[in-house]
């Protein structure tokens, strides 16, 4: 007989039994470089501290050194899943500072592309969120449709992800010939694709088991902690900036705002899937009612002239030279422009001192505030639910750290 330990000395539950677990920043299910410091007691989370800033690149500081029009490509880099939303928010804020009127066609194309961006972002969210929970197939389905959207973006802007397609005063270019037909084809087919995702997940007992009743967030807590977007609406607060404070011509579109009272991960999933359907309906409306006309505002001192005009008109050449070399002065003042990005309320606060460079650009990013609700959701729950909770608030770390 050797040394058999028949009564191992395991300590009783209590204060000293907790341990600190480091999750991230390279953990795949933190959707970027999020680091969580978790205090756990067995499998139960006692405390959690999000640690961010790994992707901080000082975009706000860089913007202060650029001309207004040079900031547009910076805004793509903030949130690589919805570049069009960031472009839109920035150009809307700048246009508000300038007092520019945007032609209807440019507004409608902006709405159309923004809804495609929303679909793109939600598809990446759905795919990766399902992958976190072990559902591999959804990921492949979602990325199949996302590829189509990225091809549409490439067609319209020349870039798949960093589009920078919107300009202060309108669009960079007229959408190419055949673009609307391709969007139409995609819009006709996409609802069937959403059915496919729903077939895999909505009534799937494993999916329901992992998400129903998990990571609850009450409406009061969601508002108190600054949550916006689907995270807020899944907690029963019926607020959508597209409908309630319309911008860029959203008042011309009819759509439902999905709201759920269940407050859990499953409710957030349902809200976002419903938003996919609403977004594609808005795309359909935008295509059906697309107005004719120019895509750039009539403001020669702000909007770059057409290439053709520059070859024949002296004035156009002068304006082009002036805008490119010294920018355009923006009247002093400040604006706060918010839009409903796929993740929630995205807003740009721009202060102008009357020169050609913004004095201060601040981005109110939805993920930054949505992350604050995370501790509220997961304290007292199991460690495995942390992954579900992170997925359900749909954070993008590029946007949090800026």
């Amino acid at each position: 007989m050797g040394n058999l330990t028949l009564a191992p000395n395991i300590p009783e539950p209590g204060e000293d039994r907790t341990m600190i677990l480091n999750m991230g920043p390279q953990h795949p299910s933190t959707h970027g470089v999020l680091r969580l410091v978790l205090e756990i007691d067995g499998e139960t989370v006692i405390r959690v501290l999000p640690d961010i800033g790994f992707l901080h690149t000082g975009i706000e500081k860089t913007c202060e050194a650029k001309f207004y029009q040079q900031v547009v490509p910076m805004t793509d880099r903030i949130d690589y899943l919805c570049p069009m939303s960031n472009n839109l928010c920035y150009v809307l804020a700048s246009e508000k500072l300038l007092g520019l009127e945007i032609p209807p066609k440019a507004q409608w194309v902006r709405v159309l592309l923004n809804e495609l961006t929303r679909i793109n972002s939600h598809l990446v969210w759905l795919g990766t969120h399902a992958l976190d929970m072990g559902a591999m197939t959804v990921f492949l389905y979602c990325f199949r449709e996302r590829e189509d959207i990225l091809r549409l973006f490439e067609m319209v802007s020349g870039q798949r992800m960093m589009t920078s397609y919107f300009r202060i005063g309108g669009l960079a270019l007229e959408p190419p010939i055949g673009f609307f037909e391709r969007v139409k084809k995609f819009a006709d087919r996409f609802p069937t694709n959403v059915d496919e995702y729903e077939n895999l997940l909505t009534n799937n007992p494993i999916w329901k088991g992992r998400t129903k009743g998990v990571a609850k967030l009450s409406a009061e807590d969601a508002i108190a902690l600054g949550a916006t977007g689907p995270t807020l609406r899944a907690s029963g607060v019926d607020f959508d900036l597209r409908r309630d404070m319309p911008y860029s011509g959203y008042e011309n579109f009819k759509f439902k705002v999905p709201v759920s009272q269940d407050c859990d991960v499953y409710a957030r999933y349902l809200c976002r899937v419903q938003e996919l359907r609403e977004s594609i309906a808005i795309v359909g409306q935008a295509l059906a009612g697309m107005p004719e006309g120019p895509v750039k505002a009539d403001a020669p001192k702000v909007v770059l002239p057409d290439r053709e005009k520059m070859k024949t008109e002296m004035e156009a050449l002068i304006y082009h030279f002036k805008i490119v070399t010294e920018g355009f002065a923006v009247p002093a003042g400040e604006v706060y422009q918010s839009i409903e990005s796929p993740r929630g309320e995205m807003a740009y606060y721009i202060v102008s001192d009357g020169t050609a460079k913004p004095y201060r650009v601040h981005m109110r990013t939805p993920s930054y505030y949505n992350l604050q609700v995370l501790p509220n959701m997961i304290v007292g729950r199991l460690l495995a639910d942390v992954v579900a909770a992170i997925g359900s608030i749909d954070i993008v770390l590029g946007e949090i750290d800026r």
């Binding site: 800033g53 007092g99 902690l225 400040e334 606060y349 202060v351 505030y369």
Partner: protein
């Protein structure tokens, strides 16, 4: 479209529900107001910010139930140098108001509004990190975006864009 000139006379603006609520709270508490580009801005004293937030949140006419954003602007080299900017939204009225607090270089302290709005937690830490404003009563005032051992506050205007070499 020409821009309408900004209105800065409090007498002309006193019908705006947010400003009316603040004037009802204290006539002297409102330092200045501005209505520009359809946006309302009210300046208040730093020591009152906590109370102003509570008044805006709890009044009946214009219940600002949602804190959208806290940020800061550096007006270096003029004085008072800093302006802390709060954006509040009334979901019921679908309108927002901007509250500003001026801070002179000597006294960069403002009461934290986390007791009124817990959502001010991260943004106040961000302003502390990037501008060096102290938020009195904040539960966890530490750097959030920059490394813990960073020296200086990058979003101040006297901090070079390319950093110190």
């Amino acid at each position: 479209m020409a821009l309408a000139p900004a209105i800065t006379d409090i007498e002309l603006l006193k019908d705006h529900p947010a400003l009316a609520a603040l004037l009802a709270w204290s006539r002297d508490g409102v330092e200045a107001a501005k209505f520009d580009r359809d946006e309302m801005t009210v300046w208040v004293a730093a020591k009152n910010i906590h109370e102003v937030c509570a008044v805006l949140r709890d009044n009946k006419e214009f219940p600002c139930n949602f804190l959208e954003d806290v940020t800061c602007v550096d007006w270096y080299p003029s004085e008072p140098r800093f302006e802390v900017v709060y954006h509040m939204l009334s979901m019921a009225k679908k309108e927002r108001v901007r509250i500003k607090v001026k801070l002179a270089s000597g006294q960069l302290t403002v009461p934290s509004i986390t007791p009124v709005w817990p959502s001010a937690n991260f943004p106040e830490r961000e302003v502390f990190d990037l501008f060096g404003i102290q938020f009195e009563g904040h539960p966890y005032l530490r750097r959030i975006l920059m490394p813990e051992d960073w020296e200086g506050h990058p979003l101040r205007k006297d901090f070079p864009v390319e950093g110190y070499r």
